[in-house]
Symmetry: C2
Subunit: 409 residues, 2 copies
Amino acid sequence: MNHIEKLQEYARLIVRTGANVQKKQYVVLSCGVENVSFGRMVVEEAYKAGAKDVIVFWNDVKTSRTRFDYAAMEVLEDIPEWRAESKNYYAREKAAFIAVTGSDPEAYLGVDSEKLKVSSRASDEAFKTYYKMMMNSEIQWCVAAVPEAKWALKVFPELSEEAALENLWDAIFASVRIGREDAVKAWARHNTFLNEKCRMLNEQHFEKLHYKNSLGTDFTIGLQKDHIWEGGGEFTPEQVYFFANMPTEEIFTTPDCNLAEGTLVAAMPLSHQGNLIENFSITFHKGKVSDFKAEKGYDILKMIIEMDEGSDRLGEVALVPYDSPISNTGILFYETLFDENAACHFALGECYPTTVKGGGNMSREALQKVGANQSMTHVDFMIGTKDLEIIGSTKDGREICVFKNGNWA
Amino acid sequence: MNHIEKLQEYARLIVRTGANVQKKQYVVLSCGVENVSFGRMVVEEAYKAGAKDVIVFWNDVKTSRTRFDYAAMEVLEDIPEWRAESKNYYAREKAAFIAVTGSDPEAYLGVDSEKLKVSSRASDEAFKTYYKMMMNSEIQWCVAAVPEAKWALKVFPELSEEAALENLWDAIFASVRIGREDAVKAWARHNTFLNEKCRMLNEQHFEKLHYKNSLGTDFTIGLQKDHIWEGGGEFTPEQVYFFANMPTEEIFTTPDCNLAEGTLVAAMPLSHQGNLIENFSITFHKGKVSDFKAEKGYDILKMIIEMDEGSDRLGEVALVPYDSPISNTGILFYETLFDENAACHFALGECYPTTVKGGGNMSREALQKVGANQSMTHVDFMIGTKDLEIIGSTKDGREICVFKNGNWA
């Protein structure tokens, strides 16, 4: 397979397996202007899959940066109705949403964190119909990444731009199982493995998990009493099977947002909205953040934690073996889509309601009442290391080793 | 001035002189993805000029072409409310609109003309608030062009892509008066010249103009009885002076849409919505198209003429000397923005109400009643040649030579 063939296979995989575009369905594609040629492939694949219409939002992170530099706070705060509808409308129409990410991980370095917060809050509010349906798996969505020069050079600073891009493409293709065999089949097999892990964990009905490693993590998280472990693909209410992330290596569920004690130490930097947060830790008491530290990007971490009422509690607990294919590349991607699939992680903010029994049909208030966290945001951070140990406790007091030396026990 | 300096001067000229962006004003920029780096310059200039917010719509003609190939008629017909509002909202907010054009003149070659018609009609209807305010000079708007490879190679087919792009840049810079002296001053002087020509024509109060040349044009157009000749910049109701087109060499007014007799023979191809119409002529009787011919692009011409009730009558008559700076480059641009400023032309469809005394405050019905044509469309076509003669007739029966040998008499 040459590079162009791999690109086409990737576009096809995103459309057919990732978003699983159905005949006569709207498709909404967000894609960076740097990646226009790949975006065009996705558009054509979507039409070939029978899409009724493909709505493309080309975006440019450099222009967005200029906007942050010049526009006033009240401008960033104000998202007009038409823009909110540009996504909410298609969510209500049950479109399939595809996002091609991949841009400079430090595009917003130095932007006033108050501006980022205001803008982020405004987006959360304006697009809440779309976000809610996404978090609830009511619509198909798929996020996949394509390298861009600045990102490639951040990952491989010692290489030339060309070589860095080539290496990053190789790493991405390996992560999404493109190139060796039929990618659709490889994904089906991988999905079976993830589903099997879910089944095993669901049988245990753990009450809580205790995390410990040499980096300083010593932490207990309670699981929501009706939690379900999910991983791999998932179904919409119309029984369309999709993969929200490509790659995906995680098994995840909803914690009890009132039961978190101790300290989580980040195992890798977190790239958030064009900013890097490095060497950080977060301490919890009774489910809530009680303290946090960061050597770099403290303001950004503060912004994440203080975004709204639920942003200082956990909404997701995810298990990924240290020996995952992505982790084994040995590459730090500076991109959550990859890094979260290389290490055990948690997310501050909103839970995935589908990982609570009957959660898809529960109101926000009902979910909150049973400890399934509610927030406008959802931010993953990675804590898995090669010596991570996780012990699960069941209702009847049994203790079972879930992870040992960073991998499934 | 090196190339980058010229680009920056061009971006500044578009923002400051063309759209004349005011402090705290919204700016809406449409720009092709190929021209992202120039688009970024315009965005930054707009903020520097004090723009409140710059809304950017990146577009990709290749993706649009794919859509025409795959999407069904009823999809092309349907423009959702959010998309209509994405421009109408900012028109109502009195934004300044900047369009950076320049893409493959044959991007839509071979697309079913019925699809183009349906899509074009849907746009006209959806964006009518925006279009009406634009045609009425109620908002500032400016269209300027930036070369893209396919376009450059159409203009200079004998050159390499790099050389073609360089030559097209040179031609554009020359046309918009960049590079030799201070561009803003050069534009002010040029504007004075155009205003002087308008004054002279307005003093004559011509009833009709007769056109004749060796190409076969033999045509009489009646002018609207309260017509005003305009050229160069114009004022919004708030007295903001702007240039709708860069370059601009034309003096134009509103004809009487019931008085057109004879045949107009095109002097150059017309590039319309990614299609070329070549070697064509249009014959009028009592103001209305009675016949038309085209060696290439007949279906597209038919589509233009049959778009709606007013699309088979003339809405604009424009005078441009054969010896205009653009014409003197000897280049056929395959882009109306340039070609219309190189030759006398007419437009089928909507008139510019500001070129009728009091027209800016008249209803559509009132304008139609006094012969100022109303239509959803406005399509220019060029008929000026080096031997064009135009004789004007006044109310009192005097005949005055306006153009001789293609130039001002």
